[in-house]
């Protein structure tokens, strides 16, 4: 609706300002008029107009350009059109140099003025939308969204602030669901790259050849099905950040390719001859113990050291149990709003239940549990019955499941994945939720254990 946009027409000639205002009102804009530059500045103090039409010469007071400079001090993003009946090259250059969006000579074609207003409003709409989305993203990924009073987590916050603006590669290690991507995004948002892209790639979700093309892009005809040139994630990230999740699961060949990119900060698209500079900061993450993988020969040592310039190890939720009440309240606040439910808090008994639970899926599992409880809750307080589903797979301090003799941890993991996939008829999303891991981790487990699908 145009009625949300405000325009101020400033001209010392009454017929000029009133007729232009009436013409703009027919478009639905809210239009005010001022007879002098001083009056316009006073009006701008009380109301933020989106577009100002200023006459260049308004004797005896201040002219259009001086008025624009004063208005800009109050409102830096105001769109200003300088209008004049006596155009000269000098005044036009001066007006544009001082920051006018447009310089119009009266009388002008109705099409010209109509297009200018439409274009300006479109740009302002995009700016508003962009600002809104940025604010939402900042709220979501800045430190406010990583809620903790745990000293180890606070040391991580300090480290993030310290290294956010540097280019050094960061390796984030932590079990599934500990918030590795949130930390990566916080690193991106807190540094000078925040305005540039953050591009995430789940290395475990794609087959080797697909991942190669996904990361480096390809030229047309470089392989069957490459019908057009495609930019890879490294290019798409530009001067922003590229987040390589599940880095511990990439093939030896990709380890080699990635090492070359990190060493030379250059790469080629698949099938391409053009060398492309890598501007992005690399943030890698894994839930595997990479040092162990290096010792076993599964992961290149040189790549490990290239990635591990700055190391962030995220504690599991069990290591920061004191955060559970904070996290629960934080999730209730956000998720109840999203679900449109009146839930405000959790009862003491339910909180004790949550504190006693083991949370192998860490913060993500806790978040899923709170979300599930909110969806089915009837009142304003989440109580023990709302978390009954946790008792269906007891993992707390009470009844313990005993490990069959001779079964290794890898076999237990394989068995658990197979049985959950059976239960969900192979539905990856559901299985990942039940296991408390994200989908890329589940894909990695399926590949690691050669589980048929």
């Amino acid at each position: 609706m145009n009625s949300t946009w405000k325009i101020l027409v400033v001209d010392d000639e009454v017929a000029m300002r009133e007729s232009l205002a009436a013409w703009l009102r027919e478009d639905g804009y809210v239009v005010d008029v001022a007879a002098s530059g001083r009056e316009a500045v006073e009006m701008a103090r009380g109301c933020q107009y989106d577009i100002y039409f200023l006459d260049l010469k308004m004797p005896p007071g201040i002219g259009g350009i001086e008025t624009m400079i004063e208005i800009r001090k109050l409102q830096a993003d105001a769109a200003v059109v300088i209008i004049t009946a006596y155009a000269t090259v000098d005044t036009a250059i001066n007006a544009l140099k001082e920051g006018a969006q447009e310089y119009m000579v009266k009388p002008c074609n109705p099409e010209e003025i109509s297009l200018f207003v439409k274009r300006t409003i479109e740009v302002k709409n995009l700016q508003r939308e962009n600002l809104y989305l940025r604010q939402r993203l900042t709220r979501h990924y800045s430190f406010q969204d990583i809620v903790s009073k745990n000293p180890a987590m606070h040391a991580i916050f300090d480290l993030i602030k310290e290294v956010a603006s540097q280019r050094s590669t960061v390796l984030i290690q932590g079990a599934s669901g500990t918030g590795k991507e949130l930390v990566a995004r916080a690193l991106h948002e807190a540094g000078g790259r925040a305005a540039r892209p953050f591009v995430g790639v789940s290395c475990a979700a794609l087959a080797e050849t697909l991942l190669e093309s996904e990361l480096f892009g390809h030229e047309k005809g470089s392989f069957t099905g490459a019908n057009a040139r495609k930019r890879g994630k490294f290019e798409a990230a530009g001067g922003g950040s590229i987040f390589l999740d599940e880095i511990g699961d990439i093939s030896p060949k990709l380890q080699m390719d990635l090492l070359r990119v990190l060493q030379e900060r250059k790469f080629f698209r698949l099938g391409g001859n053009e060398e492309i500079a890598m501007e992005a900061r690399v943030i890698a993450a894994t839930n595997r113990n990479l040092q162990e993988a290096v010792e076993k020969g599964d992961f290149r040592e040189d790549l490990f050291y290239r990635l591990n310039v700055i190391n962030i190890r995220l504690p599991s939720l069990c290591e920061r149990r004191e955060d559970i009440p904070l996290l629960v309240n934080h999730f209730i606040e956000r998720l109840a709003l999203e679900a449109g439910k009146p839930v405000r808090e959790v009862s003491k008994a339910a909180l004790k239940l949550l504190l006693d639970h083991d949370w192998p899926g860490n913060v993500r599992e806790l978040e899923n549990a709170v979300e599930r409880a909110i969806v089915t809750a009837r009142g304003e307080v989440l109580d023990v019955p709302d978390f009954d589903f946790l008792a269906q797979a007891p993992r707390g301090n009470g009844s313990r499941w005993s490990v069959p003799d001779g079964m290794s941890l890898a076999e237990i993991e394989k068995h658990a994945v197979e049985s959950v996939l059976d239960r969900t008829d192979g539905n990856i999303k559901q299985a990942a939720e039940i296991l408390g891991v994200d989908r890329s981790t589940l894909y990695a487990m399926i590949r690691r254990h050669n589980i048929p699908r």
Partner: protein, 194 residues
């Protein structure tokens, strides 16, 4: 409800007849054709060889009879406002009056042979457009709606001679409120205008 048509010297009777019939039918109201107004002194701009829409409106407003709901001033003069090279018409949004120029609606103005039917079609679309403004409607994004902005005759020819569903519903609601107010004794135009 009463809508008055005020011709400025030079408007053909046949055109006024067509407009009056259309207004009466479309707005389901009483219409009245006022005596012709001579071209107001000082409205002609010799440099531009055009007529100032604001000056014509200023001269016409006092002639609006008491009890009239809206006043549509019609002229064959090519009109302008100081900021623009020309205008087809100008209305006081949600106000008592509008002015409409027929000059550029003639094919002859653009160096083409006259086409009577096309001209009348354009006139009626613009009558609806300007009166729509006086009842509070603003420009519509639907290019085929009579309330869409026209900056050339091609734009007018693209429009249908009626309102889109949203503008029609908006107008109906505004007319309903106005008729209720008229019945309650407050039949004066709703806006202060400019």
């Amino acid at each position: 409800m009463l809508i008055c048509l005020l011709p400025v010297a030079g408007v053909a009777d046949a055109d006024l007849d067509a407009m009056e019939r259309f207004v009466g039918l479309y707005f389901a109201c009483e219409t009245r054709r006022l005596p012709t107004l001579e071209t107001p002194d000082g409205s002609h701009d010799a440099k531009r060889d055009q007529y100032d829409a604001t000056a014509i409106m200023r001269a016409a407003l006092p002639l609006c009879p008491p009890g009239a709901t809206r006043l549509l001033v019609v002229t064959e003069h090519d009109i302008f406002i100081p900021m623009l090279t020309f205008i087809f018409g100008q209305a006081q949004v949600n106000g008592p009056a509008a002015v409409l120029s027929l000059a550029r609606l003639h094919q002859g103005f653009h160096g083409l042979p006259e086409q009577r039917e096309l001209f009348v079609e354009r006139v009626l679309k613009e009558v609806l457009h300007e009166l729509g403004h006086t009842f509070g409607l603003v420009h519509c994004a639907d290019r085929q709606c009579a309330m869409s902005l026209s900056i050339n005759v091609t734009n007018i020819d693209v429009k249908r001679g009626e309102l889109c569903a949203a503008c029609a519903a908006n107008l109906a609601e505004r007319l309903r409120v106005l008729r209720r107010e008229t019945a309650a004794g407050d039949g004066s135009p709703t806006g202060s205008g400019s």
